[in-house]
C-alpha cells in the first residue's frame, strides 16, 4: 500500500491538503460564480427549476448589461421583462465611479496621514503615546449603526448630507486606525538601524522617510492602502443612510436600492453586482504580489 512508505504518506498528505483547499475555494467562490452566471442569463431562464448551473448558449444574453449602460430596454425583450427593468439600473455605472472616487481619496488620505502617524507611534515615545494609540484603536469597536444617527444630524447641520466629502471624511476616520495599526506593526519588523544609518548619512526626517523608510515599508504600505480602499469601497451603512441622489450615492447604496422592488429583474441585479466586483478584483490582481509581501515581510538583512 502507498500509505506504508514515507513518500507515500507524504503524498497522501499533499492530496488531502489539496482536497481541503478545493472545498474551501468552492465554498468561497460559489456565490460569486452564481452571480456572474446569472448576469448573463435570460430573465426567463432564471426562473427555471432546476436552475441552469452550467448555462447553455440558448439562455445566454448580454441584455442586462446593455440596459445598465444605455438605459434602453432591449428591443428583443418580452413585455414582462420590460416592466422589470427599473431606471435605477442606469445609476449603477455612475455609482461605481462615485465609489472609486471616494475610495481613492480615502486611500490617499490613509497613505499621507496614516504612514507618518504609524511611524511616529512605532519609533518615538511621547507623553501618553500608548493611551492615544489605544483610544485610536478603540474607535474601531463602535458599530457604525450606533453612530449613524448622530452623524446624520451632524451632517444635516453642516449641510453636508448627500455629499462625497461627508463619506470621504467618515471613511477616513474608519480606516485610519486600522491603517496605523498594521503599519505600526510593520515598522516594528524593520530594524531601526536603517533609519539611524540614513540619519548619519546626512538625511533629515523628510528625506529619511522618502528615501529609506517608504521603500522599505512599501509592501506594507501598499497592503494597508488596498485594505483602506476595499473597506471604503464596500461600506454600506453610512453610504445608504447619508446619501440620497447619484450626486453622492455609492455602488453599495444603489445596489441595495435595486432589489427593493418586488419584481425587479434578477438578471439586472446580478449584472450590477458583477460590475461592482470588478474594480477591487482588478486592484487585487494588479497588486497581489504586494498584498502577499505586505503580510509576510521580507527584508534583505
Amino acid at each position: 500500500m502507498i500509505f506504508n512508505t514515507i513518500s507515500g504518506r507524504r503524498r497522501a498528505k499533499k492530496i488531502l491538503v489539496l482536497l481541503v483547499s478545493i472545498v474551501v475555494l468552492l465554498y468561497l467562490l460559489a456565490p460569486i460564480y452564481w452571480v456572474v452566471v446569472s448576469s448573463f442569463q435570460k430573465e426567463i431562464a432564471l426562473q427555471d427549476r432546476p436552475p441552469h448551473y452550467f448555462p447553455s448558449a440558448e439562455v445566454f444574453t448580454t441584455n442586462h448589461y446593455y440596459f445598465i449602460f444605455t438605459g434602453v430596454i432591449p428591443p428583443n425583450s418580452t413585455i414582462m421583462l420590460q416592466s422589470m427593468y427599473t431606471m435605477r439600473g442606469t445609476l449603477v455605472y455612475p455609482a461605481i465611479i462615485n465609489s472609486i472616487i471616494i475610495a481613492s481619496i480615502v486611500t490617499i488620505i490613509n497613505v499621507v496621514v496614516g504612514f507618518p502617524a504609524a511611524h511616529i507611534f512605532a519609533r518615538y515615545r511621547f507623553f501618553g503615546d500608548r493611551k492615544v494609540f489605544l483610544l485610536l484603536l478603540a474607535t474601531r469597536l463602535l458599530p457604525s449603526i450606533s453612530i449613524v444617527v448622530a452623524m446624520y444630524i451632524l451632517l444635516l447641520r453642516l449641510d453636508l448630507l448627500d455629499t462625497k466629502l461627508a463619506l470621504v471624511g467618515i471613511y477616513s476616520a474608519i480606516t485610519l486606525p486600522f491603517t496605523i495599526w498594521i503599519l505600526r506593526a510593520y515598522f516594528h519588523n524593520i530594524p531601526v538601524e536603517f533609519e539611524e544609518a540614513a540619519r548619519l548619512d546626512g538625511c533629515r526626517y523628510i528625506r529619511m522617510m522618502t528615501k529609506v523608510v517608504v521603500p522599505l515599508a512599501r509592501p506594507g504600505l501598499i497592503a494597508a492602502a488596498i485594505f483602506a480602499f476595499m473597506a471604503s469601497y464596500g461600506e454600506f451603512v453610512f453610504a445608504t443612510i447619508l446619501t440620497q441622489t447619484i450626486r453622492s450615492q455609492t455602488q453599495t447604496a444603489v445596489l441595495a436600492s435595486l432589489s427593493q422592488g418586488m419584481s425587479t429583474s434578477r438578471g439586472m441585479i446580478a449584472a450590477a453586482a458583477t460590475l461592482s466586483i470588478l474594480p477591487p478584483l482588478l486592484l487585487a490582481i494588479v497588486f497581489r504580489k504586494h498584498i502577499l509581501e505586505g503580510l509576510t515581510a521580507r527584508l534583505g538583512l
Partner: protein
C-alpha cells in the same frame, strides 16, 4: 585639547544607569576600542557620540566645539552598524553614494569617490549588486566602503565583525588594521578618529591603539594594548583581558630581609621586585593582597627545586601551540599554559614555579592595583 572628547557623560535609562560620568579623549588618527562585557554601556557610549542617543548629562566635544545639541545628520560621523544596515532597496553603488548624494555632490565626483572607496575594500566589481546578493564578508566591505567614502571626522564601528563566522572575522580583522594604518599614513596622521566597540578582546588587542575597558558604565582602564595586558590597574581589567583568565590568589604580602614574599594558605612564594613595589611606602611589614598571575607565567619545574610548589594536574586540554592545565595547589584551582613538548598525564603530581616578574598585586578592598605608581 583632544580632537574628540567626552566629558562626564551620563546616560540614564528608566531603571538603569547605562553610562556613569564617563570621560574619554581621542586624537585624530587614534583607533580607540571600547571593550567590555555586554551591558557595560559601550554601545550606548558610541550612540551618544553619534547623536543617536542623547546623554542625560555631560558634553560631547568635537574639534573644540560642543556638539551635544547637534543632530546626527550634521555631526559628520560615519557609523558601521552591528547588523550593517545596508539599504536593501539600493545597489551597492547607491548604498555607498547615498551620503554624497544627500550633500549634493556633483555626479562625476560621486562616481570617482565611490569607485575609490569600493576598490579600497576590493568590491569594485560588485557595485551593481543588491545587498541580498552578497556574502557576509562582502556586505561587511560595503558597510565599510559606505563609511570610507565620506572621509568623516569620526568613524564609529559597533561590533562590525560580530555577524561574521570565526574564519572571516580573523581575515577582516587584519584588513581593518591595514586600512586604518594606510588611512593614517595617507593623511599624515590627521585622518579621522576610529571608535570601535567590541566585546572580543582579541579584536581589541590587535586593532586598538588605545583600549578603554568598560564595566558597568564606567571606564575601568584606558591604555595601550600592551600596557593593558602587562599593567592592569584593577582586578576587572586583569581578569577581563587575557585568555585564559588570570589566576587570583588571596593572601598576604610581606617584607622579609629586604625582599618580598607572598603568603597564601600555608605556602610562600617569592614576590620579587613587583612585591617590593606593591609594598611601596606602606609602613606595615605585612599587607593583605590579592596576587594575580597569568597562566603563561606559571612554569613547570622538573626535578626537585627548593622554591617550587607541589601541584596536581586535574585536567589537561591540548590547544595546539600549548597545553592548558587545570592545576590544584593545596585545593586552590589554577590554570597554567604549558609547553606541549612536555609529556603530561592527568592526576600526575608536578612542581610549579610562579614567575615573580609577572606577578600583579591588588588591594583586596578596592580591587585596585598596588602597582600604579610603579614608574
Amino acid at each position: 585639547m583632544a580632537f574628540l572628547r567626552l566629558e562626564s557623560i551620563t546616560k540614564r535609562f528608566p531603571g538603569c544607569l547605562a553610562v556613569d560620568r564617563l570621560d574619554l579623549d581621542a586624537d585624530e588618527g587614534d583607533f580607540v576600542v571600547l571593550l567590555g562585557p555586554s551591558g557595560c554601556g559601550k554601545t550606548t557610549t558610541l550612540r551618544i557620540i553619534a547623536g543617536l542617543e542623547i546623554q542625560t548629562d555631560g558634553q560631547v566635544i568635537l574639534g573644540g566645539r560642543d556638539i551635544s545639541d547637534v543632530p546626527p545628520e550634521r555631526r559628520d560621523m560615519a557609523m558601521v552598524f552591528q547588523n550593517l544596515a545596508l539599504y536593501p532597496h539600493m545597489t551597492v553603488f547607491d548604498n555607498i553614494a547615498f551620503y554624497l548624494r544627500n550633500i549634493r555632490r556633483p555626479k562625476d565626483e560621486i562616481r570617482d569617490r565611490v569607485a575609490k572607496a569600493a576598490n579600497r575594500v576590493q568590491i569594485g566589481e560588485l557595485l551593481d549588486r543588491y545587498p541580498d546578493q552578497l556574502s557576509g564578508g562582502q556586505r561587511q566591505r560595503v558597510a565599510l566602503a559606505r563609511a570610507l567614502v565620506r572621509s568623516p571626522k569620526v568613524f564609529l564601528l559597533d561590533e562590525p565583525l560580530a555577524a561574521l563566522d570565526a574564519k572571516l572575522r580573523a581575515g577582516m580583522r587584519s584588513e581593518f588594521k591595514l586600512l586604518h594604518k594606510s588611512l593614517v599614513e595617507e593623511a599624515g596622521g590627521v585622518s579621522g578618529t576610529f571608535i570601535y566597540v567590541t566585546h572580543d578582546q582579541v579584536e581589541a588587542l590587535t586593532l586598538g591603539t588605545r583600549i578603554a575597558v568598560m564595566n558597568e558604565g564606567r571606564i575601568a582602564q584606558i591604555a595601550s594594548p600592551s600596557d593593558l595586558y602587562r599593567r592592569p590597574r584593577n582586578i576587572f581589567t586583569a581578569t577581563f583581558v587575557g585568555s585564559p583568565e588570570m589566576n587570583l590568589l588571596e593572601g598576604k604580602l610581606q617584607r622579609a630581609n629586604g625582599d618580598a614574599v607572598f603568603r597564601f594558605r600555608n605556602l610562600e612564594v617569592d614576590a620579587g621586585a613587583k612585591g617590593l613595589a606593591a609594598l611601596g611606602r606602606a609602613k606595615e611589614e605585612t599587607i593583605p593582597a590579592i596576587m594575580g598571575i597569568r597562566p603563561e607565567s606559571i612554569h613547570l619545574v622538573r626535578g626537585e627545586t627548593l622554591k617550587a610548589l607541589d601541584a596536581e594536574i586535574v585536567t589537561l586540554e591540548l590547544l595546539g601551540q600549548s597545553n592548558l592545565l587545570m592545576l590544584k595547589i593545596d585545593d586552590l584551582p589554577l590554570t597554567c599554559l604549558a609547553n606541549p613538548d612536555i609529556a603530561l598525564r592527568e592526576n600526575e603530581r608536578i612542581a610549579v614555579r610562579f614567575e615573580a616578574e609577572s606577578m600583579h598585586f591588588f588591594d583586596p578592598k578596592t580591587e585596585e592595583s598596588l602597582l600604579v605608581d610603579e614608574e
